[in-house]
């Protein structure tokens, strides 16, 4: 065991080391304390004192200015600053004054602590966590006396009834788990689209004819029953699942579709209908490039080629956007020929 005795404080103690000796030993390994300028130069100390007081004083000024700005500046007033643009005057002034008032209290306090408060290094001793043996023995004795007094071992009826109560106690905790259900059932597989359901504009709610959509045009659409379904279900789940996109392209540009026969095509003269819900994580898509026929998802850049069965050409989506077969009803408006033949939206556990 080697001891540093350079500064003469540490005495080499044989055997047990006292706290004081350990403390002195640790302190001796610290770099020597160097006084700050404010410690020995009263003028520097006076200057630091002034600086701190100025910061606190400015903070008070900005607090008052905040109150003035709050009362005086209207929320509609506008301030133009070159390069930065046009601002709401009120927000700008309130933010600046409150921010500076807070900041100056902080900088003042830190400046005060760094320049003027005592900066002598202090070593704090860390003691062992284990309690002394006497305390441990005392605790065990107290527990045993309590157990003896309760008569847990000698009064079996109390013991058994308590064990029974404790055994039944978890049942309510398990019961409330039932409220996490019911299981979703077929909700994830099905949409509101049924054969013969009218396709109407998403915001306008008006029925759509083929002549309404020029080549290169798109229409965001919903099932005609959507408002009633929302009313019944009391939520927006149906809107989140059932939104579709009607898109028209030159029939010669269509490479493939997801289904349909010559007698019962899934499109109508180049007008096709696709689910708008991305098959990756379910963002609603409508970023359509009419020249490339690509539909891009804004969330993760999945790209679907609508001219080729809406297959994925780029991005993390794992499967094509489901196509809704369409036809015209007796009045010449678009209706669904059938529901979707696969679940719309992202993958889920039970999806085959």
């Amino acid at each position: 065991m080697s001891h540093n005795t350079d500064n003469g404080v540490v005495e080499a103690v044989e055997g047990e080391q006292s706290d004081a000796a350990r403390l002195a030993h640790d302190e001796s390994q610290l770099p020597a304390h160097r006084p700050r300028r404010t410690d020995y130069d009263p003028r520097a100390a006076k200057r630091a004192e002034r600086q701190v007081a100025i910061m606190f004083g400015l903070s008070a000024v900005f607090t008052i200015l905040f109150v003035v700005a709050f009362v005086q500046v209207g929320t509609e007033e506008v301030l133009r600053i070159p390069f930065f643009g046009t601002f709401g005057r009120s927000n700008l002034y309130l933010g600046l004054t409150f921010g500076l008032a807070t900041l100056l209290i902080g900088t003042g306090a830190i400046h005060w602590a760094k320049k003027l408060m005592n900066d002598h290094e202090v070593v704090a001793e860390r003691h062992p966590l284990r309690s002394p043996d006497e305390s441990r023995e005392e605790a065990v004795a107290a527990f045993e006396a309590g157990a003896e007094d309760s008569g847990f071992a000698s009064r079996p009826i109390i013991r058994r009834s308590l064990l029974g109560a404790m055994a039944l106690f978890p049942i309510p905790l398990v019961m409330v788990l039932r409220d996490l259900g019911p299981l979703p059932g077929k909700v994830l597989e099905e949409t509101a689209w049924k054969p013969g359901m009218r396709i109407v504009g998403a915001d306008s709610g008006i029925a759509i004819k083929p002549s309404d959509i020029p080549v290169g045009g798109i229409v965001q659409a919903i099932p005609a029953d959507l408002p009633e379904i929302q009313e019944i279900e009391g939520n927006l789940n149906s809107r989140a699942k059932d939104v579709v996109l009607l898109v028209r392209m030159n029939p010669a540009d269509i490479v493939s579709q997801q289904g349909g026969t010559a007698e019962e095509p899934w499109d109508f003269n180049g007008i096709m209908c696709f689910s708008r819900i991305c098959t990756h994580v379910g963002c609603p898509i409508a970023l359509y490039e009419q020249r490339s026929h690509h539909l891009l998802c804004p969330c993760h850049q999945s790209t679907f080629d609508l001219a080729d069965s809406a297959n994925v050409v780029f991005g993390p989506a794992a499967r094509e956007l489901p196509q809704l077969p369409i036809m015209l009803d007796a009045e010449g408006y678009f209706v669904a020929r059938d529901g979707f033949n696969q679940p719309v939206g992202p993958s889920y556990w039970e999806r085959s």
């Binding site: 601002f87 927000n91 760094k114 504009g201 998403a202 020029p214 798109i218 409508a286 009419q290 690509h294």
Partner: protein
């Protein structure tokens, strides 16, 4: 009586008529000055003359790519059936004539005068029926429902043009342009004709009043000050996040260094 009558000059009556005509002319000019563009076209001759002038301009400036009959070429689409609205949009924003074959035609200084653009539009519009330049009444947003315009904008436009109309990237170098300087007429014509990669929003599905509502909403966004502070281009979390990561975190690091530094 006779002397009085003799004092009146012989030309007094014709002069009075001329004066009245001149006054009416000045008043008409003052009232009609709001629609100078269309009035000027009519002054230049009938529709026939306008189409003939447009045909000449087209042969000089456009036919090298679009063909003498506007039938299109290997690198240029046919203009038969695109309508006068498409020509007005493309030429009045400087997108056409194209300077170079790029992923997308950028907005440039306009090459043609208003009159020449009207002549070109009349010529192309005469080739086949197509979307027409909107009338002033179509662009009147006085009674438009701005809140509904916002709903329509978020459903139909924000995917490419950003929630604040700041524009954004598409694929293969194309982009949705920002709408901060777009005039009501340009917005209307773009919806009607679907320039480049933009889909067409026909008047049957997005009606004229819907279009007016969208225009009113966009105009409001164009003039709205950024109450929340520096908008950083209104691109949302991308620029705002970058700013916070670089400048705000940098400031915090500097403050931490200052707090931890030893004082001498």
């Amino acid at each position: 009586m006779k002397t009085l009558k003799a004092r009146r000059h012989r030309a007094a009556a014709p002069m009075l008529v001329l004066l009245a005509l001149a006054l009416i002319g000045v008043m008409y000019a003052a009232v009609g000055s709001a629609t100078t563009a269309s009035a000027a076209n009519e002054v230049q001759g009938g529709v026939d003359a306008q189409i003939a002038a447009g045909k000449k301009l087209f042969a000089e400036g456009c036919s090298s790519c679009h063909g003498l009959g506007a039938q299109g070429g290997p690198n240029a689409p046919t203009l038969i059936g695109v309508g006068s609205a498409a020509v007005d949009f493309q030429v009045s924003t400087g997108r056409m004539p194209l300077a170079a074959n790029q992923a997308q035609a950028p907005v440039k200084p306009v090459e043609y005068s208003d009159l020449e653009i009207a002549q070109l539009a009349a010529f192309v519009g005469s080739l086949a029926p197509g979307p027409q330049i909107p009338a002033d009444a179509d662009l009147n947003t006085q009674n438009a429902d701005m809140a509904f315009g916002g709903v329509l904008f978020r459903t139909n436009c924000s995917q490419c043009h950003n929630f604040a109309g700041s524009g954004g990237a598409l694929s293969n170098g194309a982009y949705g342009p920002n709408l901060r300087d777009a005039s009501p007429r340009e917005i209307y014509e773009a919806m009607l004709t679907g320039p480049e990669n933009m889909p067409v929003f026909s008047n049957q599905t997005i009606t004229t009043s819907d279009k007016q509502a969208i225009i009113k909403y966009i105009q409001n966004m164009q003039t709205e000050p950024s109450y929340g502070g520096w908008a950083l281009g209104r691109f949302g979390p991308v620029t705002e996040g970058a700013f916070v990561w670089i400048f705000a975190l940098g400031l915090l690091v500097a403050a931490a260094v200052w707090i931890g530094a030893k004082v001498r």
